[in-house]
Every structure is written in C-alpha cells, then in structure tokens.
C-alpha cells in the first residue's frame, strides 16, 4: 500500500462532481481507500496491483470511467519515431533490459513537472521495488546528441556531474557522498561493471538505478521533448513502466513516439500501446460470484472498469480488452474481480452458507481446555506471555544457549523464541511484585527448540506459585491434574539448576517423561528480582496428551 495525494480541484473538475460523502464512498467502492480529505487534496491508499493508479492522471482516468463520466477503454496513439537505443552485450549479467519512449509536445509548468517527478517516485517505491527491480530515467531531448547506447562500463571510467551536484564526480564519489548515491549504493554492490546510458558523443546520460547526469538528464518546465527509459532485470517490467508513464503523459496532452531498442539481432519497438486481451468464460464469472450476468452486462460492467469487451467465437467465451497500463491481469479470475467491483460488492446478495460439514475442535484444544479447568479449580490464574523473550534472560535461568533466535526484531528484549514457559512466568511474578502474596499462575502455550533445518515445537504447561509454598504444594496440584486425567505418576529426585537441590522431581507417567517440578532455586528467584519463595513446574502437554489418550 502506498499513499497518493490527489489534487482535489483538478479531479472534481475532470469528473464534474462535488465532494460529498457519497463520492468518497464511490472511491472506496472502486477499491481505493481514502485515508483523508484535506483542504486541497485527497490522500488515497493504492494497492500494489494497480500501479496505473499512482498518478493524478491514472486515478482520474479510472475514476471517471467508474463513475460513468468517461466510460470504456482509453487508448493511446503512438507515432513511429526515429531514435534508436543500442543495447550492448555487456549489460547482460549487470542490468540486462531497457524499454524506452520519446515524448513530444510536453506542455509543462512547475506543477506538471512536480507531478511527473511524483509519478516516477511512486513507481520507484512500489512497482520498481525501491529501484531493485527497475529504475526510470527522463531526459530532455535537446541535451542528447544522436542515438543512444545502453552499455556497461567499468566503475573506474565513470565520471560525470550527477543531478544537483556542482561538479563532476567519479561513480565512487557519487556512491559515497551524493544523497541518491548513498541511498541506492547497495543495489550495485558486487557488480563488476555498471550500466550506463550514453549518447552518440559518449556523454553519460545516467547510471541507473542511481542517478541522471545534471547536464543531460535534468528536465525543466521548459522541456518540450523528452527521452524516457526504464531499465532493470526484466524487460516486461521495464516496458510496463513505460506504458504506465506514457499513458499519464499523454493524458497531460503530450504525444508518444516509439523508440527502436536494438538487442543485437532482435529489435523491440517500445512502447507498444495496443490493447491486450484476457479471455474469460461467462459461466466462470457467474459461478465464482454467484450471479447471473449476461453478455450485455459484461460489456457494461467492464466499461466501468475502463476495459473493453469482445465476443469470442464459442458461446460464453469473451475477451476483456486491457489498455496497456493495466498490468494486473494474470488469469480470468482477475476479470471476475473487475466485474464484481463494477457491479458493486454491496449489490451482490449474500447467500447463507449451505456447505454441510461436521465441525469440531482439535484434540489439542480439547485437552488444553481440560487442563485449564483443573488448574482454575485450584484457584490459579492463567497468564499469557509473548512467545518472544530475550535469549539472555532465558539462558540466565539454566545456562542453555541453544535457543531459536530472530534476525532483526525491532522490539528490544524480544529477540528469541521461548524454549520453556517458566522464564515468562517468572517475569509475570516480577511484574506483580507490588501485589500481595500468595500468587499462583499457570500458562499453556507453544515452546520452541532448534533442530537441524527446522524448529521443534511443542505445547507446554507451566505452573508457578509464590508465597508460602513448597514442593509439597506444587506436587499436590500436579497430582490433582494427573488424577483428573486418570493418570498416575512417579516422582523421582532429579537435579535441575532451575530448582533448589533436593527439592526437585522428575515426573514420569507410563514410562514417558512429562516434566519437572520443584522449589525454584534462590539464584533464579534473585535473578527475577523476587524475595519470596516460589515453586514451579514445567510439563510437556503433548506427551501428557499422548499418555492420556493411549
């Protein structure tokens, strides 16, 4: 999701409507969220599948169609142009593709210039994945001599004056000192050579995806003709960007001229502004939506979405005609959605479900519920702690450092997954120090242990009781639980650094180790800043369930 500011006055003039709550709701019904409406602007949230909406022009075009002001598909004429872009073999493995266009009859002013830069920026952030996938460049035609070469150069040979700099810089200086250079330097890391656009006099136009030249790559309000390129790792993406921008520029009144992009023996003439076709079946749409739409409905509905409609040869076979900027169609299911949006989600009558199945809760949930009931009966409070807990805190308890960790948690102190529940419950006691004792908590939840190439997850139960408690009290509660489950356990002395020596038992039921219980060691209590004795237990619920259901 990316937010887009739309000039309210221009939009309302174009669609001939006043701003009303209904109008805002119409925007939402089209699938665009209105974040806010300020004095001059609408702030909209655009979803990533619709890069064509990321400009004043693109949004206005779609909304006008949706409202029925300018229904149907917008098509754009291209004029065959003479400019050639030679793509050198050397860009393979560096930045292999580019798609280009020449724009003429630009009637810019400062406002329009800002809009063009904004379109570029929005596309860079979203569709171009912060320039990782592709980057866009616009250049004033008058600064360029002859045809253009797209080639790769060794970094040591690249020296030019980047945008807004006062002198020539080497590419290394740009990457280290220029703001854009610093921002995008990571995208060039490890490359043997850098891609560049050169004109026939070998002047550097730009080093994508970093920056244009100040001398040949800065458009102004007085620019009448421009060279437009997108370069990146995928030709289709580059071309789609050019198509989207060309449509917006043509909406401003400019004309689009093609460029021959020559890849060795293969030549791509870009942009191709012709319509594409997405085949769909009428019955497919109706079955998916639960509607009963007819041929003529499809034509009308697709027109609302700015799409064309064509009948196929076979019955119920149709085509949605897609203008070049609609790049979000992969499957006929995408037609289904556009039809539904055009129809209005609120116009689709909800049908009460009729899928007969027998439901039920999982065995694990049922078992957990039994444990909860028993422990609540003993007057214990159920706690719920986060699954993330500091590695350091956990390790301090029992010296175990083999813990599942997170790469880069933004919440301090939550850098690992809990391996047992006791540390969290000790923190619960710490947090409740100010309240009177006795305090008794239990927690049922998931714990995590690292394993080769995966993480071992299990469901645990932990109990902690603080105040006038000892081993006997804890054992009574645990035995009460076993009794409720129809089990009998053996308690044998064991050593566990978390518990006081001589006051810790291992619980075994039916030959299976269920867990440990005992009086918490003073070391552990002190670490948790506690000054009252406490008894704790940590049991494996998965194993307990298995022996119960055996």
């Amino acid at each position: 999701m990316v937010s887009l500011n739309i000039n309210k006055r221009l939009l309302l003039k174009e669609i001939g409507r006043e701003e009303t709550p209904e109008l805002l709701h119409e925007i939402a019904r089209m699938g665009v969220e209105v974040e806010e409406s300020t004095g001059n602007e609408f702030v909209l949230d655009i979803t990533p599948n619709r890069p064509d909406l990321l400009s004043q022009q693109g949004f206005t075009r779609a909304f006008a169609a949706f409202l029925g002001v300018k229904r149907g598909m917008h098509m754009y004429k291209t004029i065959p142009g003479k400019l050639k872009v030679y793509v050198d073999e050397s860009v393979k493995g560096v930045r292999p593709y580019t798609a280009c266009a020449v724009i003429k009859d630009l009637k810019l002013d400062e406002e329009r210039l800002k809009e063009i830069i904004a379109i570029q920026e929005k596309l860079h952030v979203t569709f171009c994945r912060r320039r990782k996938k592709a980057a866009i460049g616009i250049y004033p035609m008058e600064a360029i001599s002859g045809n253009i070469t797209y080639t790769a150069m060794e970094s040591g040979k690249i020296k030019f004056r980047p945008l807004e700099a006062d002198k020539e810089m080497t590419i290394r200086e740009i990457l280290e000192h220029h703001p854009k250079g610093k921002e995008y330097a990571h995208l060039l890391r490890g490359l043997p050579k850098y891609a560049v656009f050169l004109d026939s006099k070998k002047k550097i136009l730009s080093v994508p995806p970093i920056i244009n030249s100040h001398d040949t790559g800065k458009i102004t309000a007085s620019t009448k003709e421009a060279f437009l390129e997108a370069s990146g790792s995928d030709f289709r993406t580059c071309h789609e960007i050019i198509q989207i921008i060309c449509a917006a520029l043509a909406d401003m009144g400019a004309t689009i001229h093609t460029v021959e992009v020559i890849y060795g023996r293969k030549t791509e003439v870009t942009p191709d502004m012709s319509a594409k076709r997405q085949e769909f079946y009428g019955y497919y749409v109706n079955r998916r939506l639960g509607t009963d739409l007819k041929e003529e409905d499809f034509a009308t509905l697709l027109a609302r979405m700015g799409l064309g409609f064509e009948k196929g040869r076979i019955r119920e076979t149709y085509y949605a005609l897609l203008p070049p900027f609609r790049v979000d169609f992969l499957h006929q299911i995408d037609v289904v959605e556009d039809v539904a949006i055009a129809l209005g989600y609120d116009k689709i009558q909800p049908v009460l479900p009729n899928v007969a199945t027998t439901g039920g809760e999982s065995a694990a949930s049922k078992f957990d519920a039994v444990i909860r009931k028993v422990l609540v009966g003993y007057g214990l409070l159920e706690a719920k702690n986060y699954h993330l807990l500091s590695k350091e805190y956990q390790s301090a308890m029992d010296g175990d450092t083999d813990i599942v960790t997170i790469r880069s948690s933004v919440s301090e102190g939550y850098d690992a997954l809990r391996k047992s529940l006791l540390p969290g419950l000790l923190q619960t006691l710490t947090r409740n120090k100010v309240h009177e004792y006795p305090q008794s908590f239990f927690e049922i939840g998931r714990v995590f242990a690292p394993a080769p190439a995966h993480v071992e997850e299990s469901q645990h139960l932990s109990i902690i009781m603080a105040g006038e408690v000892d081993y006997t009290r804890m054992r009574q509660v645990v035995e009460g639980l076993l009794l409720a489950l129809g089990l009998q356990g053996t308690f044998t002395a064991t050593d566990d650094s978390r518990f006081l020596k001589g006051r810790c038992a291992q619980l075994v039921v039916d030959g299976a180790v269920i867990g440990v219980l005992g009086e918490m060691s003073p070391r552990v209590l002190t670490h948790a800043e506690l000054v009252v004795p406490a008894a704790g237990a940590e049991l494996d619920v998965d194993v307990l369930r298995l022996v119960t259901l055996r």
Binding site: R236, R288, G290, Y345, K384, H387, V404, S411, P450, V455
Partner: protein, 515 residues
C-alpha cells in the same frame, strides 16, 4: 427494652454490643475506644453499623493535640537551660566554661540562653569577658516556671487551652523540639431517639446466638435459640478466584461460533518456511511485505527443506502459472528465498497446508476449516502495536461455493460477534481474487470500523495446492481490536501484561447473540 424494635436488637453485632453501654450524646470515638477497651477500627466499624441503623450520627471532629518532645522532657527533669544559666550565675560562675559546667549546658543551649538573657536585658558582659546578672530576673523566671508547668500537663487538646496557656504554647513552638503539634481525627457521636433508647438498653441481657452450630443441630437446641440477624447489605471482602485468561475466553467464544457452524479446527506450526507462509499463497518473492522489517525471519536455525512435490508446483505457478491458466509472475523462483524460516505472518499458512492435505487425501472436500491463533509481525511494542496477535482464519472448500456465499459467512459471523451490519470494500491480497476488506458498523461508536480481509483464493493457489480448481472462500480477521474494546482496555499491551489485579477484576467474555 421498650422503644427498641426487636429486629434491631436481633441484628446487633458483638462489636456493637461492646459499644452500646458507652453511648452518650456528644461522646467521641476516642473516648469510646478508651472506655470500651476496643481497637479504634473495631469501634469505628460498630459505630458505622449503628449509623446505618439510624441509631447514631457521626460527625468529623478534628482537633489539634500538643505533645511533649525531647527537649520538653529534659526541661521538666532539669529545668529550662536559661533557668540553669541564671542559677549558675547566682552561684558565682562567671566565665563561659564555668557557667557551662555548673549549669550542664551544651554549646547550643548556652548560646540560646545568652540570647534570651540579653533580650531581657539581664546580662552584662564585663571587659574581661566575664558575665554578670543584672537585677533579679524575676520576670523571666516566672515565664520559665509557667512554661515548665505547661510542659508537665502535656498532652493537651489545643482547643481547650486558656489564653495564657496559648501564649506559653506560642513561645514553646518557637523553640526546637520542645513540643509536637499533631492533628488528630476523631468523631463526635450524636444519638438519635433510637440511639438514646439503645443506650438505655441493658444489652448484656440480650441473648442472640452468633452462629448456628453443629451442636445446635445435633441437640435440637436451635429450636429455643434466637440468632443474630446480619446486615446483608454491607460490603464483604473479595475472595480471589482462579480464572482462565480473558483473551482465552474470547478466543474460546469465537472458536465456538465456528464449531457451531460446522467448521473443523486447523492446527500447525508457528515457525514456518517462507514457502508455506508466502510462496504457496502466490505472494511474489519480491513482494514488499516480505521484507525483513515486517517479518520475523529466524536467525537460528535459518532455513529448512521444502517438500519436493509441493516445491515444484509452487515454483511453476510463480514462474509461468504452472497449468493453472495463469501467466504466473514470470520471474525466476528462488529456492534460497523460499527455504527461509520465519514466524508465520498470517494463519492463512494453515489454510494453504490444509489445501495440500486435501490433495494428499488427509482432509475431505467439501470441507470447512478454521483456526483462531497467533500470528507475528516485526513491530515495536507500544500502546497500539503488538508483535503477535490472534487471527481468526476460516476457509470453505467446495466446488459450488461463490463470492455471494463468502459475504453470507462474513455477515453471519459478525452478527454473532455483535455487529449485524457489515460493509465490504474491494481490496487486494496476492492470494485472493476477488478480495475484500470488511468494515463493521460499530453500534456504540456510530462509525465503520475495519476488522478484516477476505476473498476467494486465486486459482494459482487452489489448483496448485489441491490439484484442481476448487473455489475456496477465505478470511482473516484481527481479533485484538474486538477484545480490547470488549474489556475496555486502551493499551494493546494490557492484553498480555498479566497483572494479577487486572486479571482478577476482569469481567467475563459474555456475548449472547440476539435472535
């Protein structure tokens, strides 16, 4: 016992019975405490009960008490320092050290005494620095005696001092640690008509048993006994109880709704591969939401192995549509990316795994599946952000389901949650088409509130995982907002603070749907 109704007599608590013999109009709480030999809290409680019975009325009485302090005690025992100073002079002491020694004055007391004597013009300092008393000093001596007399009578009620005594008090207040002034709260008791009658009653003769005993029952003594009536309207202390966590109660409530509708509960791992969490759901590998700042990727262990059969199908769906009728995302699928381990970002991963289980014959079609469980997002913890929260996930797998039915399910669920009006807006998720965002009309706040996303799984998901294109209705609804609001919390962190007081006092999660 004329004048006091029987039911009043029957309701007298032992503490009240202790107080009643001492009741007098205008008596104070402290006096009763002293006379009845009770604890102040006991007497106070008894008096409040009597007040509830309209036998007495209590009025606050604040008075100031004058108490003796350290130097005051010394002055009573040895006289005031200046008095000792004068006496030393009279005995012929002349020099600084002689006087201090004879009068047993410390340097501070010496200094104070010199100051006081000079002030009254009683002291003459000779050229050789020796001291001499001028005149008799009778006036000062009189004042000193009065002060000592006053000190001897402490403690006193400041309100009951004579004018003269008040002057003495003023003088002593200026001196260090002679007296302590203490504000004391007391009550004054006024008797009503009933109170007067009660005071006259010989309560010792009352014979109401305090408790019904086992003996009473065994011997039949209860037949001849009268038992004290309790004031059943008074507050009683709370007994802390054991409880399930309130979030668990809400989860169970929501789980029950889906179980009632015939949904089967799904389960699965919290730690998942990017493959199941994202790739199997057709989220392109360069999707912005996959970046580390939003997702908890694991550091140890870092990656896992993805099952071969599933891997190949999903890879193809991404690269070229894989026979789903889709063009696919058309890029080269990365194994490294897909094998990364992460904390599941949505419960939709369990839906994806359920679809794969259908292919393997482990789950039936038609089928309805749900879960209410935790998902994770790499957020900094603050009052409106948690890094883990519960999601309500549901899918309906059936060859005949439609988008219209999806709306039906959502309407039904939200009605059961107390939101009969819902509104659907088109939205985008990489794995559903059509996709919707669900708003509910909030009856209290009178506005639309966004609560979840839903849609029909894309063929790239269903055909790839199930093996055939069966439509699957799906939704993922955030739960925390509903819970927080129900329990009237204003900080999301309060959900998992585990504060014992908060948890004990928390009301239960009860929602009863209207039919």
């Amino acid at each position: 016992m004329k004048g006091v109704p029987e039911e009043i007599l029957a309701s007298l608590h032992p503490l009240e019975l202790k107080v009643i013999p001492h009741l007098k109009d205008g008596i104070t709480l402290s006096e009763i405490v002293a006379k009845a030999g009770m604890q102040e809290v006991e007497a106070m409680r008894a008096l409040q009960w009597l007040e509830n019975k309209k036998a007495v009325s209590l009025e606050n009485l604040n008075h100031t008490e004058v108490l003796l302090d350290e130097n005051g005690k010394k002055a009573i025992a040895h006289g005031l320092p200046e008095m000792r100073f004068i006496e030393a002079l009279r005995k012929g002491a002349k020099t600084n050290s002689d006087i201090s020694k004879t009068a047993k004055l410390n340097p501070q007391e010496y200094g104070v005494s010199v100051g006081l004597l000079k002030k009254d013009g009683l002291l003459d300092i000779e050229k050789d620095n020796t001291l001499k008393l001028i005149g008799e000093g009778g006036e000062l001596q009189k004042r000193m005696e009065e002060a000592v007399e006053f000190l001897k009578k402490l403690p006193r009620d400041a309100a009951k001092l004579s004018k003269k005594e008040q002057e003495v008090l003023k003088g002593l207040k200026e001196r260090k640690q002679y007296i302590i002034i203490k504000e004391r709260k007391d009550r004054i008791i006024k008797l009503t008509e009933l109170g007067v009658a009660l005071a006259k009653t010989d309560v010792k003769k009352l014979d109401f048993a305090e408790r019904l005993t086992a003996d009473d029952l065994k011997t039949g003594a209860w037949k001849d006994k009268k038992y004290r009536s309790y004031d059943v309207s008074i507050n009683v202390p709370r007994i802390p109880m054991g409880k399930e966590h309130f979030v668990q109660e809400a989860i169970d409530y929501i789980r029950r709704i889906w179980i009632e509708m015939g949904f089967e509960e799904m389960e699965g791992d919290y730690v998942q591969s990017a493959f199941w969490d994202l790739d199997a759901l057709f989220v392109p590998q360069d999707h912005p939401a996959r970046e580390t700042q939003d997702t908890f990727y694991l550091d140890h262990p870092r990656s896992t192995v993805v099952p071969r059969a599933a891997y190949d199908r999903v890879r193809e769906a991404h690269e070229n549509g894989g026979g789903t009728g889709s063009k696919g995302w058309r890029y080269t699928f990365s194994r490294m990316e897909t094998e990364q381990l992460l904390l599941r970002t949505h419960t939709t991963v369990l839906s994806a795994q359920t679809l794969w289980a259908i292919r393997e014959g482990r789950k039936p079609v038609p089928g309805k599946y749900f879960t209410v469980s935790k998902v994770f997002r790499n957020e900094a913890l603050d009052w409106k952000h948690l890094f883990e929260f519960n999601q309500v996930e549901g899918i309906v797998v059936d060859p005949n389901v439609t988008f219209a039915q999806l709306i039906g399910y959502l309407k039904l669920f939200f009605a059961k949650m107390g939101f009969p009006d819902i509104r659907l807006r088109p939205h985008h998720f990489p794995y559903t088409e059509p996709s919707v965002e669900v708003d509910v009309w909030h009856p209290k706040r009178k506005e639309w509130v966004e609560l979840g996303g839903a849609g029909v799984f894309r063929p790239e998901v269903t055909k790839t995982l199930i093996g055939e294109e069966i439509p699957v209705l799906a939704w993922g609804i955030g739960m925390e907002r509903i819970i927080v609001e129900y329990f009237d919390l204003h900080d999301l962190r309060d959900l998992y603070r585990n504060d014992i007081k908060q948890m004990r006092d928390m009301k239960r999660f009860i929602r009863i749907e209207e039919r």
